[in-house]
């Protein structure tokens, strides 16, 4: 029998977590590690490893084929370009304390697409080979240019077999025309709601009356557009976060079931105002938030989730779960999604756009007028996978984890740091450690939440294999 290489990590109480390169995992102990390392496996060890897909008898047998298929599924292969983030204007009618997009005032000039830019954007969209497209309108406040949004949407509807649109709006000033635009079946709303009115006022509107307007707009969106068409993301300041319970209750009251917590992203204005974020503070808060969710779900009829936690949990169990552009491996940039700025410049991610805008580093990858800068993309993509990285290659979480070259560049200006010194790695080590802790927690409330987050009726204990 051949055992695939196993990585392992100490998870306390004489327990070790083992994981193979296809993402098959189990818990065992030092005694097993000893036998594994010294190649003196018992009959029971062998049976366990074979049934779990961690070994094979001979090349091409069912164990071997299954492992190869699961390994291959874990590698992200980008499809054709079919997801485009558009910034038709950089102008915004709010000036949130930590604005993540380096906005300009609502009456500024020269920060909108002109006719030539619009035409070049449409030409680029027209040249795509995919039959479907997803367009995300960002800003600035995209609703300030409803005219541009309509023209893009009309064009895409005609051009593609299926088209979907997301408008990322602050829902502060929504005209009746805008409501009508948002009501279309193919159009979705994404907004920011920092959890409760007080925090939202402090961090965003600076004016309780404005917050009240926003909240009534959000409620209108939920009731008239439908809960399935609206998502809201809270931005959390780890130095002064709202109580997890308050956020959960606030979202639940509105009928929002998914909460995507984001730490303040220190960019643009925010970077000038705040210091470097404290990862530990964030991790601790995040932990408390997950605890609060589990407690809430224990009794709630409609369970709530933290979006990214759910995503990473699903990546552990599902080899082909690549639906999030921030978390995949390899994370090829400039392939299946793209950002187009207000001046027609192309960026691999929104983060790259911000870095470039604040003058930290030019991460643009071409423009709608001249096309993609392949040379630059190649440099960025040379380090887009974690399989062979010396730190990740020893990490038990590697099959589930990803890479974020842009985040490394933005924080450290380089990508050759030891992984363990990066915020990306620290955040994900903490996250995966926590998820595995939950997977191996034999407690009804935890299992109920895990089931809800995995989208299954019940969490079966067989999903958390243990070998003694």
């Amino acid at each position: 029998m051949n055992v695939w290489p196993l990585r392992f990590t100490d998870v306390g109480r004489d327990a070790l977590l083992f994981c193979d390169e296809a993402g098959g995992f189990f818990r065992s102990d030092d005694a097993f590690l000893e036998r594994y390392a010294n190649d003196i496996l018992t009959e029971a060890d062998r049976d366990f490893l074979l049934a779990g897909g961690h070994s094979f008898e001979e090349e091409g047998d069912r164990h071997h084929v299954g492992f190869a298929a699961r390994w291959a599924k874990r590698q992200f292969v980008p499809g054709p370009l079919e997801y485009i983030i558009l910034v038709p204007t950089l102008r915004c009618d709010l000036a949130c304390r930590y604005c993540q997009v380096s906005r300009v005032n609502a009456n500024a000039r020269g920060f909108d697409w002109n006719e030539a830019t619009l035409n070049a954007v449409l030409a680029l969209i027209d040249s795509l080979t995919s039959e479907r497209i997803k367009i995300e309108f960002q800003g600035g406040e995209p609703l300030l240019r409803l005219d541009l949004l309509s023209r893009v949407r009309d064009f895409c509807r005609r051009r593609f077999r299926s088209a979907e649109f997301v408008v990322c709006t602050n829902l502060q000033k929504v005209s009746e025309e805008a409501w009508a635009f948002l009501a279309a079946a193919d159009t979705f709303v994404s907004t920011s709601f920092d959890g409760d009115a007080l925090t939202h006022t402090r961090q965003r509107t600076l004016d309780p009356a404005q917050t009240a307007t926003f909240l009534s707009n959000l409620e209108r969106a939920m009731t008239t557009l439908g809960t399935g068409k609206v998502s809201a993301l809270p931005t959390i300041d780890p130095d002064n976060p709202p109580a997890p319970d308050a956020i959960i209750a606030g979202f639940a009251r509105l009928g929002l079931r998914s909460i995507y917590l984001r730490p303040v992203n220190y960019h643009g204005f925010a970077r000038k105002r705040f210091g470097q974020g404290d990862q530990q503070l964030w991790n601790a808060y995040y932990d408390r938030f997950i605890d609060a969710l589990i407690a809430y779900n224990a009794h709630a009829a409609e369970p709530m989730e933290e979006f990214y936690f759910t995503h990473c949990l699903r990546r552990i169990f599902r080899a082909g779960h690549h639906g999030h552009v921030d978390m995949r491996n390899p994370n090829i940039l400039g392939a299946d999604y793209l950002v187009i700025d207000h001046d027609g410049t192309l960026y691999p991610t929104d983060e790259a756009r911000m870095m470039t805008r604040i003058g930290q580093m030019d991460l643009s990858i071409g423009s709608v007028f001249g096309g993609l800068d392949q040379e630059k993309l190649q440099i960025l993509n040379a380090n887009s996978d974690n399989n062979f990285h010396e730190d990740c290659g020893q990490c038990v979480f590697q099959p589930f984890c990803g890479v974020d070259v842009i985040d490394d560049l933005s924080r450290y200006g380089r990508i050759d740091l030891s992984r363990h010194e990066t915020a990306f790695c620290r955040r994900h080590t903490a996250l995966f450690t926590r998820i595995f802790e939950l997977i191996y927690t034999d407690d009804a409330a935890t299992r109920r939440s895990l089931a809800a987050w995995l989208g299954v009726p019940a969490f079966d204990p067989a999903l958390a294999p243990v070998h003694k």
Binding site: G53, D61, G66, H321, A451, L454
Partner: protein
């Protein structure tokens, strides 16, 4: 029950006849393959087939427009090979089989009537975008003919799909080119797998080495990127093994397209062995639930086939589509006024309530 055969008066034929019935001639009407309705009298419909009369006895409500029927010389019957308004059209291509599954709904017979030419003609006359089922017996005992049937049909009718039920005992690496070609995206191979180990699976299908041979076939299919539907009939013989089977599928067959857990059909051996085989999930849903939870969590697309909705707990009902073919489906008296009836498949025509589920009907 929807009739699959009608009494008929045939034109003088020497060979088996395949013909599509039309209520009125269409623009692209084919004289040599289609017959147009010219009159109805006293339950009999009269069709004009190339100048000859074809008469079929059918109830007034039945639509036969677009149906493809098969008739044999000297026998006053037509068989409905394809019903234009149904999603359940299956060609039973042979009754021979090299397994002898304990619950087989179509117990094998040695005789084989070769109708591949007729099936080929019928397939070409199927409605646009239709899926044609191919079943047996074991169709791939006639692998060459089946591959030819599928290949020829798809080359003329790329809009069609096939769903082939096979015991996966007959695929070899030479089949790669066929599987990888036009067939890849158009054929779903439905393969029965009953247990997570050779001893149990082989005992259920009554064939030594079947389990090992199945995996060999599946490796060939997987390599070609073929679409695979695994099918597991739930019985008392394998119910307890289902959680392990779920794990095996997620681990060793992660490339399969879907997995169907199927309630027993009380016909053929299934009827004969009903009392020893029937697993009453209205009393014990546990192992089915576990299998479903394990497989779903690991991204296997699982569905429960032929499970009346009221016999399974509420939170599992979304996984139980209505699957019993229209022509052999029935509802019980309890079903009258049931709020789930529109999305419930009900029961097999030959289901006997006295020997069936202990609990039926919504509380």
């Amino acid at each position: 029950m929807i009739p699959l055969r009608f009494r008929a008066e045939l034109p003088p034929i020497e060979e088996p006849l395949v013909v599509r019935l039309r209520d009125r001639p269409t623009d692209d009407f084919h004289d040599d393959r289609e017959a147009a309705l010219i009159g109805i009298a006293e339950g009999w419909r009269e069709y004009d087939f190339n100048g000859f009369s074809l008469r079929i006895e059918a109830e007034p409500g039945q639509s036969l427009d677009g149906d493809v029927v098969l008739a044999f010389p000297g026998r006053p019957i037509v068989h409905r090979l394809i019903r234009a308004r149904s999603h359940h059209n299956t060609f039973l291509v042979t009754e021979r089989c090299d397994q002898l599954c304990l619950m087989c709904s179509q117990p094998p017979k040695q005789v084989h009537l070769d109708l591949f030419a007729q099936f080929g003609q019928a397939a070409l006359l199927a409605p646009v975008g239709a899926t044609i089922g191919i079943s047996g017996g074991e169709p791939l005992l006639f692998k060459e003919q089946i591959f030819a049937l599928i290949g020829n049909t798809l080359s003329v009718r790329p809009d069609l799909r096939f769903h082939v039920l096979t015991n996966a005992q007959h695929f070899d690496s030479e089949d790669g080119p066929f599987l990888h070609g036009r067939a890849r995206d158009r054929v779903l191979w439905g393969i029965p797998l009953y247990a997570p180990d050779a001893a149990d699976h082989d005992a259920i299908v009554v064939k030594d080495g079947a389990f090992a041979r199945l995996f060999q076939s599946v490796a060939t299919l997987a390599k070609a990127g073929a679409q695979i539907e695994l099918r597991t009939v739930v019985t008392r013989r394998n119910a307890a093994l289902l959680p392990r089977l779920a794990r095996l599928i997620a681990t060793e067959l992660p490339f399969c397209t879907s997995w169907a857990l199927m309630q027993l059909e009380p016909i053929g051996f299934g009827r004969m062995n009903w009392d020893t085989l029937f697993h009453d999930n209205s009393v014990d849903f546990g192992p089915v639930a576990r299998a479903l939870n394990i497989a779903l969590a690991r991204d296997i697309d699982v569905a429960l086939y032929n499970f009346p909705l009221c016999t399974i707990p509420e939170e599992y009902r979304t996984y139980a589509p209505s699957t019993i073919s229209d022509w052999k489906q029935k509802y019980l008296e309890t079903c009258q006024g049931c709020s789930l009836k529109t999305r419930c498949g009900g029961f097999f025509e030959w289901y006997d309530p006295d020997r069936g589920f202990a609990r039926v009907g919504l509380e």
